[in-house]
Subunit: 293 residues, 2 copies
């Protein structure tokens, strides 16, 4: 059994990106520039955005965090987005979710210029992904694919169960794993809350991507020997033995499942650490205008 080390791979990619920034600087070329908007004071959102900005600094990208108060009107936010769309210096533009209830996240996402949508949430990007055209891939699916690639895991012709059909993980990763590419070319079954007898499906699967949002959902008896398991869940479980009062766990009962696997991504230390580097990679792609010219 080999652990898929998200921390190691994320560091590897950050180093590659830092090298690329150094090269761009030497050649006096444009340095990638990410702008992140945060509305309100949700502590988790603040942590995420701070992590993104810090990662930009580490590798030498330009970045700006724009903080807007909780009571910011939708109209003002959309105007701000349009202004940043038109700013040629800005390569990538993200708005941290969730938003306050009086603001429509759909409207916000569709207002961001799809050419700067480095979160990969705009319909043009999801649509082009479905059509197997170049696009920005959302952070988590991108991270999953990148981990499979960097560990040279064979996917062609293998049975793959994706557990969970969310817009940001399950559905897009099921498309990516199905399409004609590497990683891809797998035979994917997309499972969700209406699926009956999930165990029958997971037992037939060579690769299981668990993104169902239920702690410890995938148990040892649901996994066949030699399977590859990618755990996308991330849950805080109260744990008085920890200084923080909690520990992190995924959608997989790790102790039971890991011994059966050929490869497994742990929580923490797996997919979660890949999401920020995915964003950085998309921002570099945007800066170089590799997709939309």
């Amino acid at each position: 059994m080999q652990i898929i080390d998200g921390k190691l791979i994320a560091e590897e990619i950050k180093n590659e990106l830092a090298t690329e920034v150094k090269r761009l600087k030497e050649q006096n070329l444009k340095i990638p520039y990410l702008v992140a908007i945060i509305v309100g004071n949700d502590p988790a959102s603040e942590t995420y955005v701070a992590g993104k900005v810090k990662a930009c600094e580490q590798i030498g990208f330009r970045s700006t965090e724009i903080r807007l108060s909780e009571d910011t009107g939708e109209k003002l936010l959309l105007e701000k987005i349009i202004q940043l769309n038109e700013d040629e210096e800005v390569d990538g533009l993200i708005v941290q979710l969730p938003l306050p209830k009086h603001i429509s996240p759909e409207k916000v996402i569709e207002t961001i210029d799809y050419r700067k949508d480095v979160d990969g949430f705009h319909p043009v990007n999801t649509g082009r992904m479905m059509l197997n055209l170049p696009s920005y891939i959302a952070a988590t699916p991108f991270g999953i694919i990148e981990l499979l690639k960097r560990y040279h895991i064979e996917t062609e012709g293998r049975r793959c169960a994706v557990l969970g059909r969310s817009n940001i993980v399950g559905t897009p990763v099921s498309i990516l794993m199905s399409r004609k590419a590497y990683p891809g070319n797998a035979t994917v079954t997309l499972c969700h809350s209406k699926t009956r007898n999930i165990k029958e499906i997971t037992l037939q699967s060579d690769i299981i991507i668990a993104a169902i949002g239920s702690p410890g959902f995938l148990t040892g008896d649901m996994v066949k020997d030699g399977a590859v398991v990618i755990d996308v869940g991330i849950h805080r479980i109260a744990d008085p033995t920890k200084k923080s009062g909690f520990r992190l766990t995924g959608d997989v009962k790790y102790d039971e499942v890991a011994p059966k696997c050929s490869y497994i991504s742990p929580v923490p230390g797996g997919v979660g650490l890949m999401t920020v580097v995915s964003l950085l990679k998309n921002t570099l792609i945007a800066s170089k205008k590799e997709i939309y010219g």
Copy 2:
């Protein structure tokens, strides 16, 4: 075994649309208007476009066929599209595929205003479909979903095999069958050229959608008793006993498979007849600005 009668359902929908046009006329409201562009003289394309225009006439829609010569430059075609995008009278705009080799179909599709893209090929529409937002659904997936709906076929929690991962049929229908809706909520396995042991998967499936593009691919031994089979294939097979010299057949070996089915859509007479009415329905939706306001 019940035959899913595409001709009957297509007529039913056409009647509904004709009634709606009558109502619009009585109330002096806008009549839906479809413009179809055809480049070159491909006989199959000419037949298809003529069929679409004729169907518009039958139900009372306005329609125009614009014929451009084979040597039309890409730039000229794109300018024509932009002009029709800006024409407020035009509700739906389609460009018949395939196009001559010197014209990029992607560029053409992405130039059509997604609000007029009643073929449902624009990334904004495929992307919104993936995100389970209202959008124009492409003709064949739309037709399949409509047939399942009109025959009240249960899909929730049922195992569904989609054979073929094309951009215009297999991949979108796999998403539609998976998503939280009716028809939908099925557990879908998307099979394709790299899938091993397809028979194992089809034998577990309650619903099989065959869109793999191989005549008679789905044989009797691959189907379990009581399955629902939708045949999307359409192939011309030489047949000297026919006046035309050929007969039409699908991806399903009908004689073997039909006796085992609870429902089956035949070829001809099934899904194929639904595609034009899907286009008409999308044009009506466009005219009423139901999706994009």
